[in-house]
Amino acid sequence: MTDHAAAGPFGLMKNRATDGDRSGRARLVIAALCVVLALTVLFSLASGASDASAFAVARDWLFPSSSPADALSARDRIIVYDIRLPRVALGVLIGAALAVSGAVMQGLFRNPLADPGIVGVSNGASLGAVSVIVLGGTVLAPLTGLLGIYALPTAAFLGGLAVTLVLYRVSTRRGQTSVATMLLAGIALGAMALALTGMLIFMADDRQLRDLTFWQLGSLAGATWGKIAAAGPIIALGLAVSPFLARGLNALSLGEATANHLGIPVQRLKYVAIVAVAAATGASVAVSGGIGFIGIVVPHLLRLLIGPDNRYLLPASALLGASLLLLADAVSRTIVAPAELPIGIITAAVGGPFFLWILLRKRGIVDL
């Protein structure tokens, strides 16, 4: 565990701060991550199959109508503002949502392996979303009629919420969460959701199937301002709640009883955390399908760097999650250009081995 020690990449900070206090380093890392995200956003806006240059984009953004001759062409303008910008915005929202959901869930279950994708929450959200896609015109018509564009993300949110609630009930007894039960119950619930989703897909017609296939692979392609308007508020709600959970989640790392002794209303904390995770994960799944591993990789890396204090871990996760997803998306758009590789494939290809590494590394320290 020496890599947790204070003499990390920012070891120079050590002597200035109180010993054992990593908050100064955490603030520095968060500031750096802000810069990284800004650069990543700019890079994503400027890169792609078309050749609109980064310089022209930045210039057009800073001085919209300074000199028409140097500014973006009309075609580039459409590409940047109606194709790339919504895609980047969606990537930032979803990357942040997935990473923060992972971090909150890990705090809630008191385990670094908890992740909405691994314990079936994403599958539950998928079931909700697929229900709306397939049954939206028939059985669920009242719902889609009532909620309009919000029907899909809302259904995904409810699906994710149902799985999280059942999972928590099953795996927690007298305030102690059994990790083995959590993972096994997650697999069982995920499989059940998958089976129901399969049945719905079986019932789908050709047009719905095309929608489904595209969506299931997990991709930011097809991002539109409309999708952002539909999923954005729900994701934003989940993200906005998370800072208020940070102190409670910190206290919870000492166990539920001790958190309560420290003045935390533990039951309320747990339910708010579950709803926040389900909202952020559900709405993300609704617009971009299942993008795995961001929720486990990002918080884990950051804990090594700045420690597990959620007051810093949550915002840092949002920033790094957004940056990493944008980078993965940039790779997915360019690696086989002009075609696109679904981003879920890239995050899984990188995240899978990383997850294995965590497990192997953990085995020496904490028995699962």
């Binding site: 565990m1 947790h4 020690a5 204070a6 109180t18 010993d19 054992g20 206090d21 990593r22 008191r110 385990n111 670094p112 102190r247 910190n250 206290a251 790392s253 000492l254 166990g255 009883a257 001790t258 309560n260 002794h261 420290l262 003045g263 935390i264 209303p265 533990v266 804990r303 420690g307 597990p308 204090d309 320290i365």
Partner: protein, 263 residues
């Protein structure tokens, strides 16, 4: 004052403690002693608000069942028997969690330095930067005590006394640190707070406690000053082995000498 009347706790169908009465005034240190399984921890958990109970428990005249967690946290801090930590926090960060509930009782600007002061009190100077999970059991226990001290640093806040509820605070400590911790607890009481500590060491109880509560099979077998409670007959009966109580020639603090496991 902490007052408990007719406390009974059942887990499932099994009644763990029945009709326990308990009372501790500010300025006092109380020890709860008794054999394994006699209900000491269950009773302390009821007072801490961890378990449902029947009867009435109040702190400074307020029913704990009607208190919000943060209101209770301002009046008492709890040291559990064992604490598992789920993420790699440093010692400094763990101790600082004691400040979660808000007002420890130091001036606002001093909050930052409180973890270091608390660590110094439990003889863990220089441990702030270490990782909690890498410490020995006894060191972890002292870190937790420092965290608890942070929560209620001032024994009296705004005129209200505050309380330490300690479940076996010295169980994994060497004898020097047992004495250090017991001194911290007694000092907390002398400065106007109250302390309830579950202890296994009858001699430490006799030495430090103003009052001893002896629990036996889920009920209270005796309560009172060490001199009145510690008798050969009572403790031999409660602990089901032969024990001899003596008194040091210099003072009137009794001590207990084990004789044999058989009665």
């Amino acid at each position: 004052m902490i007052e408990a009347r007719n406390i009974s706790v059942s887990i499932g169908r099994k009644r763990i403690i029945a009709d326990v009465d308990f009372e501790i005034r500010p300025g006092e240190m109380a020890a709860i002693v008794g054999p394994n399984g006699s209900g000491k921890t269950t009773f302390l958990k009821a007072v801490s608000g961890d378990l449902p109970y029947t009867g009435n428990i109040s702190i400074n005249g307020r029913d704990i069942a009607a208190m919000k967690p943060w209101q209770a946290a301002a009046m008492r801090a709890v040291l559990p028997q064992a604490t598992a930590l789920s993420f790699p926090f440093t010692v400094h960060e763990v101790v600082k969690l004691g400040l979660t509930g808000g007002r420890s009782g130091v001036l606002p600007g001093e909050d930052e330095r409180l973890p270091d002061r608390a660590l110094a009190r439990v003889d863990l100077d220089g441990f702030a930067g270490r990782f909690y999970q890498e410490l020995s059991g006894g060191e972890q226990q002292r870190v937790q005590l420092a965290r608890v001290l942070c929560q209620v640093w001032a024994p009296v806040l705004d005129g209200s006394p505050r309380y330490l509820l300690l479940d076996e605070p010295v169980s994994s400590l060497d004898i020097k640190h047992q004495l250090i911790i017991m001194n911290i607890a007694r000092d907390f009481a002398r400065r106007g707070g109250g302390v309830v500590a579950i202890l296994h060491d009858l001699n430490l109880a006799a030495m430090f406690a103003d009052r001893i509560f002896v629990m036996h099979r889920g009920g209270l077998a005796a309560a009172g000053s060490p001199q009145s409670v510690l008798s050969d007959e009572l403790i031999s009966r409660v602990f089901e082995c032969r024990l001899k109580v003596g008194a040091l020639p210099a003072g009137n603090t009794p001590f207990v000498l084990p004789q044999s496991a058989a009665l």
